[in-house]
């Protein structure tokens, strides 16, 4: 179902997670997890509730600092990512429970995603004239292209707090895209959506990957969606990686079957 053009660029490692462990007090959220995210692919991280999926994303973009291990992004290794460095380095994300500015319009929310790209200082921004204006127009055009891409023109001027949940998810994706990320992290992009919204969202994720060549790592509960969407799947269970491979390989993996069917853990 994928076009060949997207696969050609795939292969090179964009981000490597190496032997990462994270614990909160006595609770071990992640234990020696290692995997790669390769350029141009869609990678899904799945696992039962409490497997450490969101913790993993939080480590990648620097919300959590792991106690041990290494993260190598674009060839640069560090023990812990910082959110600011992650954003500047080209990692954007969306959140499981949405983190939009509810009182602001769709347009303003997505414009907010351009903040890091703004070059003019605070003073120029304030008087909105000359170079700052030229810059704003340029950014607005980029944002309008995203609005067109995500088909949300009709809600451009509506405060996001008034939108249906599925649309809010789409706006959040828009804001992440506004950062022109190299790596896009999606935390349960389809949680709480109905079938039609899920299909739409899947379409957009595929289009983003194909059209902009953006590398995507996503967490998802809906296994059917994951298998259709992703090139590779990493399975976590109780903070450990139990499988890593193509959807077909993962589907046949005994450890995965055991984790999902809920056999008693000895």
């Amino acid at each position: 179902m994928r076009a060949p053009s997207a696969t050609e660029t795939r292969g090179e490692v964009l981000l490597a997670v190496d032997d990462v462990s994270l614990s909160f007090g006595g609770v071990r959220a992640l234990t020696s997890v290692s995997f790669d995210i390769r350029k141009g692919e869609i990678l899904a991280i799945i696992g039962p509730n409490g497997a450490g999926k969101t913790s993993m994303l939080n480590v990648i973009n620097g919300f959590y600092q792991p106690q041990s291990g290494r993260i190598t992004f674009k060839g640069k290794a560090r023990t812990a990512m910082r959110p600011y460095a992650a954003a500047h380095g080209g990692i954007a994300r969306t959140f499981q429970n949405l983190a939009l500015f509810r009182g602001m319009t769709t347009l303003d929310n997505i414009m907010a995603g351009r903040t890091l790209k703004m070059r003019r200082g605070f003073f120029w921004q304030l008087i909105r004239h000359g170079p700052a204006m030229t810059e704003e127009i340029k950014h607005r055009q980029f944002v309008e292209e995203i609005i067109d891409f995500l088909q949300i023109a009709a809600i451009r001027k509506i405060p996001v707090g008034r939108l249906a949940y599925g649309l809010q998810k789409r706006v959040e994706l828009g804001r992440a895209l506004a950062m022109e990320p190299d790596l896009l992290l999606l935390d349960e992009p389809m949680a709480g959506m109905n079938l039609e919204e899920k299909e739409d969202m899947s379409r957009f994720i595929l289009d983003v990957n194909q059209q902009y060549g953006t590398t995507i790592a996503l967490i998802e509960h809906d296994i059917g969606v994951v298998m259709d969407l992703s090139d590779r799947v990493v399975v976590l269970d109780y903070g450990r990686k139990i499988a890593d491979g193509t959807p077909d390989e993962v589907k046949r993996d005994e450890n995965v079957i055991r984790a999902y069917l809920g056999e008693p853990h000895a």
């Binding site: 067109d148 009709a154 001027k157 059209q211």
Partner: protein, 660 residues
């Protein structure tokens, strides 16, 4: 180019004329990436010419048919004109047509080339292309998602224009040749083939010449004094005659500007930004606007609601009189003025109708209450009766002679008569040439001396002299006891209620009248939210006992109003049910212009109709539905049936009934 009126007998000639005379006035606008982009007549000529010459390079010749498939985008309108400039014949196709329907029209019209809006339409064409050997090229407007497609037969709109521009630059005689080609066009040439959605059977290709469309457009412009200062918004299907005349031919003839909305969902906002002065819409559009307003008002605070209710009822009493220039007491004028400031003005602004000079409703009968609502606000809404076979205009209401239940007088140059069976016939310069490749059907509809059977039953209103349409002639029936049964008349009364989206009345040859009702999801779900009614699906909501109670109240009010009309009193609704699914054009239940296909529905829901007449308290239905992507599924449901108590007929009617 000669500029005498007489020679301007084709649309491409009008384009060249407009570019020369009003070249710097706006001809078209399109909202793209949030910004209105405008083209002047001169700029539009440049775009159309480049595309036209590009088409010629691709091998399009005089007499070839080409399809236009998509929404209201400038490039698709340009494509129509560009093809016409070469003497080719455009065949616009409904953008929401499923692949099978499209295959039929493309095959029947022997389309050689198609101009499609985007990937969605291109995919549909590709899916049916093995059935269409004569279709050799597909041009697309929006490149998104199409980069990786095989481009041996596919080419982008921009690339075709590039071909044209290159040819223009390299070949000095090219421009002259192209202009000579336009000049060679005659008024009697075939201008367009429009496939009517048809309430029965396969669609038919209505052939219209430039003489048909341009004379009709000029008459309409003169009738309402439309000039180059008008602003209209194009949002109706390109394949509908209304849009073809109103957003295309009339614009070229008067020189006014056509605005293309950003997306179909943004029409309301886009219309407000433009402030259209002339509007043309089927009743459904006005109904939806009103429903949306009523829903929003139900959610508004008590003060706003009181204010709204007071001024709306005041407007209902005085607004139309003020609009028609009748004498009105001073205090009424003053309060109406205050209402204009507080309610009517803001409301019209919301609707995008602040600057409206003339608004038409056409395509179907509009509910009198809805019609009066808009007029009460001071909007000059008028009725029009038209047909594809007439290049739209058959009758229209002149300013100041408005009646909610008539469709007006014969339009300029139109002759009207009523046949012995009560059917309306007309004859005019707009009368079509014939149905494409179907002389038999043509002969059925058009008499040798040029009269066209409309298929509608009507009569001239004694009081106003206007034409009044009751229903489709074939739909008007009789109950078993001989009582007149006009289904649409009853359905329209039901559809006035915002909670009712669609209704189907049955009763021809039966003992009494029954109705099947479709709820309006927007209105009813908002009502459900306010009344703590919990539901999981459309089907569940439609079957909810409280929803039935609500619909029963509406049916009761309809019965009451029917009982007050002598000829309709016997046709009150005795039993009704709420349909578990929305009637949908994809399932063939509605036409592409959203008219109910009664015969089809009667077959499809036969088990429900049996239930209605068997006296059962519920009925089962299992039927196939088509999803947007063309997949099919089965929906089954048990539907409850309610009995209604009819009102006694007026005394006179009962007496004559007994006497007979």
């Amino acid at each position: 180019m000669q500029s005498s009126e007489f020679a301007l007998n084709t649309v491409p000639k009008l384009l060249i004329h407009n570019a020369a005379t009003i070249g710097r006035r706006p001809a078209m606008r399109h909202k793209d990436l949030g910004i209105w982009r405008a083209w002047t007549w001169a700029a539009m000529l440049d775009e159309v010419r480049a595309f036209s010459i590009g088409l010629a390079e691709l091998g399009i010749e005089r007499g070839d048919k080409f399809a236009i498939i998509g929404g209201n985008r400038p490039r698709l309108y340009w494509a129509i004109c560009a093809g016409q400039a070469l003497g080719a014949v455009p065949v616009p196709i409904y953008a929401d047509a499923v692949a099978d329907e499209m295959a039929y029209v493309l095959g029947h019209a022997e389309v050689k080339l198609a101009v499609a809006e985007d990937q969605e339409q291109v995919d549909k064409i590709i899916a049916i292309s093995d059935r269409l050997p004569q279709l050799t090229r597909v041009i697309y407007d929006e490149p998104r998602g199409l980069q990786d497609y095989d481009h041996t037969r596919l080419i982008s709109f921009a690339d075709v224009q590039r071909l044209g521009r290159k040819k223009l630059a390299n070949d000095r005689t090219c421009l002259q040749q192209w202009e000579a080609g336009v000049a060679a066009g005659k008024g009697s040439d075939l201008a367009v083939i429009l496939y009517t959605s048809g309430t029965t059977g396969r669609s038919k290709g209505v052939m219209l010449t430039y003489d048909n469309t341009i004379i009709s457009a000029r008459n309409a412009n003169a009738f309402d004094r439309l000039d180059q200062n008008e602003e209209v918004i194009a949002y109706l299907p390109l394949a509908w005659i209304g849009d073809h005349i109103f957003s295309y031919v009339q614009s070229y003839a008067a020189g006014y500007c056509v605005n293309c909305p950003e997306t179909p969902d943004t029409v309301l906002d886009d219309r407000r930004e433009i402030g259209t002065t002339y509007a043309f819409a089927p009743p459904r559009v006005y109904e939806n606007l009103l429903t949306l307003t009523m829903v929003r008002m139900a959610d508004a605070g008590p003060l706003q609601r009181k204010m709204f209710d007071f001024f709306i009822s005041f407007a209902r009493r005085w607004g139309e009189k003020i609009l028609d220039g009748e004498p009105v007491p001073l205090h009424a004028r003053l309060i109406y003025g205050l209402g204009e400031f507080l309610v009517y003005g803001p409301l019209k602004n919301r609707f995008g109708l602040s600057r409206i000079r003339v608004g038409y409703t056409a395509g179907e009968a509009i509910g009198p209450e809805i019609f009066r609502f808009y007029r009460a606000l001071g909007i000059n809404l008028k009725q029009l009766y038209g047909q594809t076979e007439a290049s739209v205009y058959v009758t229209a209401q002149p300013d100041g002679e408005i009646d909610a239940e008539t469709v007006g007088r014969a339009s300029p140059d139109v002759e009207l008569k009523i046949s012995e069976t009560g059917e309306v016939l007309f004859r005019s310069p707009g009368v079509f040439v014939g149905y494409y490749k179907d002389p038999e059907k043509t002969a059925e509809v058009r008499t040798p001396d040029g009269w066209v059977h409309t298929g509608d039953a009507g009569f001239f209103d004694a009081k106003t002299g206007h034409l009044k349409i009751i229903d489709r002639a074939k739909d008007v029936g009789r109950l078993e006891d001989g009582t007149l049964f006009a289904p649409k008349y009853i359905e329209n009364k039901l559809k006035f209620y915002p909670n009712v989206r669609e209704a189907v009345a049955v009763g021809d040859g039966r003992d009494f009248v029954c109705a099947m009702v479709n709820i309006d999801l927007t209105a009813v779900s908002s009502w459900a939210e306010r009344n703590n009614v919990v539901y999981g699906s459309y089907q569940e909501l439609a079957g909810h006992p409280l929803v039935y109670d609500m619909i029963a109240r509406h049916v009761d009010e309809v019965n009451k109003s029917l009982s007050q009309e002598e000829i309709m009193a016997g046709a009150q609704i005795r039993r009704f049910l709420v349909l578990p699914k929305e009637l949908d054009a994809d399932d063939g239940e509605l036409t592409r212009t959203q008219k109910v296909r009664r015969g089809f529905i009667a077959d499809r829901y036969a088990s429900l109709i049996d239930g209605l007449y068997s006296g059962a308290s519920e009925a089962d239905i299992s039927t196939e539905i088509t999803f947007d992507d063309g997949r099919k599924g089965i929906i089954s449901a048990r539907v409850a049936i309610r009995d209604m108590r009819p009102y006694p007929a007026p005394a006179a009617a009962v007496a004559t009934g007994r006497a007979a």
